[in-house]
Subunit: 431 residues, 2 copies
Amino acid sequence: MPQRDVINIGLLGFGVVGSGALQILERERESLANAAGCRLEVKRVADIDWQRPRPIHVPPEKRTTDALEVVRDPEISIVIEAIGGVKPALDYVLEAIANGKSVVTSNKEMMAKEGRQVMEAAAAKGVDICFEGAVGGGIPIIRPLKESLAGAGLRRVLGIVNGTTNYILTQMQQHGREFGDALAEAQQKGYAEPDPTSDVEGFDAAYKLAILASIAFNSRVNLESVYHEGITRIGAADMAYAQELGYVIKLLAIGADTEDGLELRVHPTLVPRDHPLASVADVFNAVFIEGDAVGEVMFYGRGAGSLPTGSAVVGDVVDVARNIRNGATGRVPCTCFEQKRAKNIEEVVGKYYLRLQVADRPGVLASIASVFGEESVSIASVVQKKTTGDRAEIVWITHDVKEHAMQKSLQRIRSLPVVVEVSNLIRVLAA
Amino acid sequence: MPQRDVINIGLLGFGVVGSGALQILERERESLANAAGCRLEVKRVADIDWQRPRPIHVPPEKRTTDALEVVRDPEISIVIEAIGGVKPALDYVLEAIANGKSVVTSNKEMMAKEGRQVMEAAAAKGVDICFEGAVGGGIPIIRPLKESLAGAGLRRVLGIVNGTTNYILTQMQQHGREFGDALAEAQQKGYAEPDPTSDVEGFDAAYKLAILASIAFNSRVNLESVYHEGITRIGAADMAYAQELGYVIKLLAIGADTEDGLELRVHPTLVPRDHPLASVADVFNAVFIEGDAVGEVMFYGRGAGSLPTGSAVVGDVVDVARNIRNGATGRVPCTCFEQKRAKNIEEVVGKYYLRLQVADRPGVLASIASVFGEESVSIASVVQKKTTGDRAEIVWITHDVKEHAMQKSLQRIRSLPVVVEVSNLIRVLAA
C-alpha cells in the first residue's frame, strides 16, 4: 500500500462549483486530512478568466489559463472538473484519465451524454470517476444509490432535481402567479439563468434522470431515450385546479424499471398532496426511491449552489484519496451491467389531468365523455365550471391509460366542434 | 490484487434482520455478484433456535447452533452479526475480527456501547466494520455521513430515529389518542414490543444518536453523555396545544457541535409544522442534517423491518466485498479524530413549552410571569384556558433560555400556592 503524505489536486474551472470546492478544501483542511489519511493540496487551478472577483484567493503561482497544464502535471493525482458542458470539459477529463488521474466532476451534461465513454476510459486505466455533485448538489444520492442501496431492489426513482423550476412552481402554487411572472422573479433572484431554456424545458432534469436511472437500474440510459417536457405551459389555473383536486404540480424526473422496459420521462406532474415530494418547496431538490427490499427512501436538500455542490465534490475527493492511499482506485466499477430497453412515451401507462375550454351548452360533457368511452379511457373525476360568457371549463382526471390512447382521445376531442381549446394535459403521479 | 470467484459469508442470528439479509442475498444474487465482482455465498448460518418458522429456507448442512463455528471458519471472509444486544454478540464480533474477518452489523446497542472497542479491533487487524443498518433501517445514513458529507461542515443532526414512538405520536396527533391507547395499538400491530421500555423511554434513540453524533462530529460519543427522556408523559392535551401553536410533537434525537461542546439529547420536542421533520409520520424515520457547506439535507425512509434493514446489511456486504477484492479492507477508518467535550443538559440553551394547572383567579398569570422575569426567562407566547370548576390551564412558550434557568424557574413555579400541577415541560426545536 503506497503511503503518501500529500495528494495533489488539480482544479479545472474556477466558477461557482470550483470556488466552492476550493473554499471547503481550505477551511476543512485538517478534518479532511484526517479523513483522507493525508494532506489534500490544490496544486493548480485552471480558468480562462482570472479577472472576475471570486470568494477565495488563489496565489498567482497556482494559476493557469491552460487546462492541459493541469491534466498533464505528473504530480497531480486527482483532477476536479468544474468547467461544465461537454466541450472542452470532456477532452480534459479524457486526457486526465489517460494520464492515470482520477476525476471528480459535477458535470451532469457530460455524464449524461458521454458517461459511457468516460466510465470506460476510467475502467481501462483503473482510476476513479466520481460525480456525486452532478445530481442534487450537496445531497448524497449517487454514492448511496450505487453502494448502500446495492441490495435494495430498486424499482422506481422520482426526482425533483431542478431547483429553478421548483422555485417557479412553488411561487405559482403559493402566490397564484403565472409562469412568466414567477420566472422573471427567479431570474431577478439569480435562481434562473438569463436564458432559462435548459431548466424550464426540462433538459437539465433529463440529464440528471439519465444519470440516476443508469445507476438505479444498472443499465446505461441514452439521453435520447428520456422523454422531456418543460413547465412553460403550466398556468395559474392548473395550479388552482390541482390544489382543489388534492394535488400540487411538480416537475418530476421519473424512472421506472418495469417488466417490459425502462420508463424515462421528465414532465410536469400532479403529485398527491400527502406524498413526501409534494412538500419539497422553493429551490430544494429531492429524490424519492422505491425498492422491493428497502421500501421508500427519500433524499432531500439544496440541489445547487457553490458550497453545497462543492461539498459533494470534496466528499468525492476524500473517497478517491482513500482509494489512492489503499491502491484501490477503480474499486467501485461502472454498474451498468445490464442492457434494458427503454420504453417509448407512447407505451407508458398513467393517469392524466386534462383541462378544456368548451362551449357552455347542454350535451358537451356527454360528447367528450363518449370519446373517452370509445377509446377505453376511464374517468376518475371531472369538474365543470362556468367561465366567461358562453364558455365553460372542464377538468378531467383519468384512471390509468396508455399514453397512446390518451393522445388519440385528445386528438378526437380537439376536433369536436364544442371544444374551443385544449388548455393543458398534465400527467398524474401513479401510486 | 487478489482475484476471487467467491466470497463466503457467515451469518450470526437468523431473526428479523438476518432472514431479511439472507432473502436479499438470494434473490438479488446476480446483480450483487455484478456489483461485488464475485459471487457472494452464505456458507454458514448460526442460530440457537432452528424450530421457529422463517420466510426463507436454509439447507441443513449450512445450519449451526454454534456461532463460534462461523467466526472460526477460515473460508468465511465476511461475518454478518444479526444477533442484537451487547452479549454475546460483542464476543463473536471481536473473535471474527481477531480471525481477520470483516464484520457487518446492524447492532445499534453494541455499536453505541462498545463501538470504540470494535472499531479499534477492526483497525488493528485492517478489516472492515460496517453498520449502516444500525440507524434508520434501510435508509443510507452512516455511509453518506462518513463519506459523501466529509466536507459538509456538519453542525447539527436532528433525527426521528425510532419508528415505534413516531407511530405512537402520529396516532396521538392525528386521532387525539392518549399515550396508553396509542401504545396498546402499536403493540397490537407489532410496531411496539410487549416490553416497550427501550423505545418509549428513548434508550433506542439514544443509542442511535451516540452513533450518528460520533460520525457527524468526528468525536467518540459516550452513551452516558446522551441525555434521554421518553414520550410516556406526553398527553393528548399537549398534542392539541402544540397543534394550536403551530407545532407537532416528535421524539427527536438532537446532536449539535457548538463552540463550548457537543449537545447530545433525546427528548420529545415541539417541531414547527413547516419543518421537513414535522411531516415524517407513522413508523417512518428521518435524519435531518445542517452543515456549513451543505446547508440542509434530509434522509427519509423505513427505519426498521426485515427487508429494509436487510438491504442496508447487504449494501455493506457489497462494499466490504469490493474492498476484499481490491485488498483495501480498512480503507475507511474510524473517523473519531477529535475529542470534544459533551455538554451537560443543564448547559443547553433552548426554548420550552410549559403546561400548568392553576387556580382560576386574578393575579395568577402575573405571579408566574414574575418568577420568569426574575429568572430572566423571556416569554414568547402564552395561552390561558378555563378548564373545570375553579381551575385554569396555562401554556407558555419561552424564548431561548439555559436549561438550568428553566429548571430553577420551574422549581419556584411548582411551589407557588396558586399552581396546582406542572403538567408538562417540553423542549421546542430551535431554528
